[in-house]
């Protein structure tokens, strides 16, 4: 039963994405919509991403400092650890989990509302490929903008680590920076961007899918919006694991 439901949704999801990849009726309309989405998804989320990343960096640094305690591990490792944890895991994953809550629920509600108010039918009747017009600009915008947000997140987290350790005096400026510059593996940055792009694609496409096929009334719309967050979150963590296996 469960496997049936899964296969049904998976099939419908793939078909929807397939029809979403099409030549735009009018390029300028798609371009305008993409820019609008970039603004909504990107600029609209910068503040929350910065706020969260600041705390992530601070918490990571403080807790790692505590674990080091009086061990023989040199304290400059704090900078090194904050940098790597942030880049490999925290920035892409936490940012995208948060964005699934903010952007995913929003997209599902927006498209679902259009479905319920017959806006999608109205566009179909005009001859618009609604799957393409409603989904492609969002996907393009998200896959372009969310990795940028993740990069900002990594940067801010590292500053957060600095703020939480160097400012109170538990670590010197030189040590933290030395840590940041030690054992740098460029591949991890690549991995961060891979994760960010994949998560962005997942959370956007899943949310659009759930909104696009919403039925019924406001209760179903609410459910679609919640499901968008839950399903995106689970998928993000699942693919986090898969990417970790593939790229390490």
């Amino acid at each position: 039963m469960l496997i049936n439901t899964f296969l049904y949704h998976f099939g419908q999801y793939v078909l929807l994405l397939k029809s979403a990849v099409a030549k735009p009726e009018r390029f300028s309309m798609y371009y305008k919509e993409t820019i609008r989405q970039m603004d909504a998804i990107g600029v609209g989320s910068v503040f929350i991403v910065i706020l969260i990343s600041m705390f992530i960096g601070m918490v990571t640094a403080v807790q790692f400092a505590d674990q080091l305690g009086d061990s023989f591990v040199p304290t400059y490792y704090i900078g090194y650890i904050v940098r790597d944890i942030t880049i490999i895991e925290m920035a892409p994953t936490i940012t995208c989990l948060v964005l699934a809550g903010k952007v995913g629920s929003n997209l599902a509600a927006e498209i679902g509302g259009m479905r319920q108010k017959e806006h999608i039918d109205a566009m179909e009747i005009m001859g618009v490929n609604t799957a393409a017009y409603l989904i492609m600009p969002k996907l393009v915008a998200a896959v372009f903008v969310i990795p940028l947000l993740v990069a900002i997140s990594a940067f801010v987290s590292i500053i957060g680590g600095y703020v939480a350790t160097v400012l109170p005096g538990s670590l010197s400026h030189t040590e933290y920076v030395l840590g940041l510059r030690s054992y740098f593996v460029p591949r991890y940055v690549f991995m961060m961007f891979v994760k960010a792009s994949v998560f962005a694609f997942l959370l956007t496409s899943v949310s659009c899918y759930l909104g696009y096929y919403v039925k019924g009334g406001s209760i179903e719309l609410g459910e679609a919006s919640t499901n968008a967050v839950v399903v995106s979150n689970v998928l993000i963590l699942l693919f986090d694991f898969i990417i970790a296996l593939l790229l390490t």
Binding site: R26, M29, E118
Partner: protein, 259 residues
């Protein structure tokens, strides 16, 4: 002309349309009437390919729309205008932008040409001067008119209206009917209107299809309505005792006139 041949439609166990064979003519309003739940909306959405039938065919002139691929279907749809029951105006766009939307999507006109056409369409539905307002800022009747203007903007060959009168007062609703009728005649459009409004039936019913429980119960035009002794038609049209009495009086009067 649009023809349907033996349309059947089921949603799971729910058998909604049961063998609809009919025609909708060019240049005049074709009415689909019937009680709520008779299957009018389903039939209308089927005509434009938003639903696919369980069996049966829909022909636009000689084209069976269910044999078309998605692209060909979109070509036909560009010739279709539709007024939805809830208007389906995009609420984040102004009235002018709503009307412009199909042009933005499908034409290469300049901004100025588009605006000229928008003004033309607003004038056509007697709604000049609301270009910059949002749909939520105008009344229900005005929204209907905007919906009609948007449906007409690309000069469709086919116009579909799902309950254009629902939620309007009798006077406004007659004005809307007249507007649709006038546009239909002037542009020789095949118009299909789905309604349960008595005034529409008697006012613009040039080709009426009465549905009951997914069957065609009666076909005719407004001049045949009063004289028909079809029971379903009587039950539907003369539902209230008041109308029943009017009809009896009218028939009596006519019989007396005839001698």
């Amino acid at each position: 002309m649009i023809r349907t041949i033996d349309i059947e439609k089921s949603f799971g166990e729910n058998h909604v349309l049961k063998g609809i064979t009919t025609e909708f003519h060019d240049g005049k309003p074709n009415l689909i009437i019937g009680a709520s739940g008779a299957g009018k909306t389903v039939l209308l959405k089927l005509l434009i390919g938003l639903f696919t039938p369980t069996s049966g065919q829909v022909f636009y002139d000689d084209t069976n729309i269910f044999e078309l691929n998605k692209k060909e279907l979109r070509q036909i749809r560009m010739k279709i205008g539709m007024l939805f029951q809830g208007n389906a105006l995009f609420d984040s766009l102004t009235v002018g932008e709503n009307i412009r939307f199909p042009m933005d999507m499908f034409t290469r006109r300049t901004a100025k040409e588009k605006q000229m056409r928008v003004d033309e369409c607003l004038e056509m539905v007697n709604m000049e001067g609301i270009n910059d307002r949002y749909p939520s800022e105008v009344s229900g009747g005005m929204q209907k008119r905007v919906g009609i203007a948007r449906a007409m903007v690309l000069e469709p060959k086919y116009l579909f209206c799902d309950e254009p009168n629902s939620g309007l007062d009798p006077q406004t609703s007659i004005l809307i009917d007249e507007l649709i009728c006038e546009l239909t005649n002037r542009n020789n459009i095949t118009t299909v209107i789905n309604t349960h409004d008595m005034n529409s039936v008697m006012g613009i019913g040039d080709n009426i299809l009465l549905m009951k429980h997914g069957h065609v119960a009666w076909r005719g035009d407004k001049s045949q309505v009063l004289e028909s002794d079809n029971e379903t038609l009587e039950d539907f049209i003369f539902a209230s005792p008041f109308l029943q009495r009017l009809r009896e009086d009218a028939l009596k009067l006519r019989n007396r006139e005839r001698g």
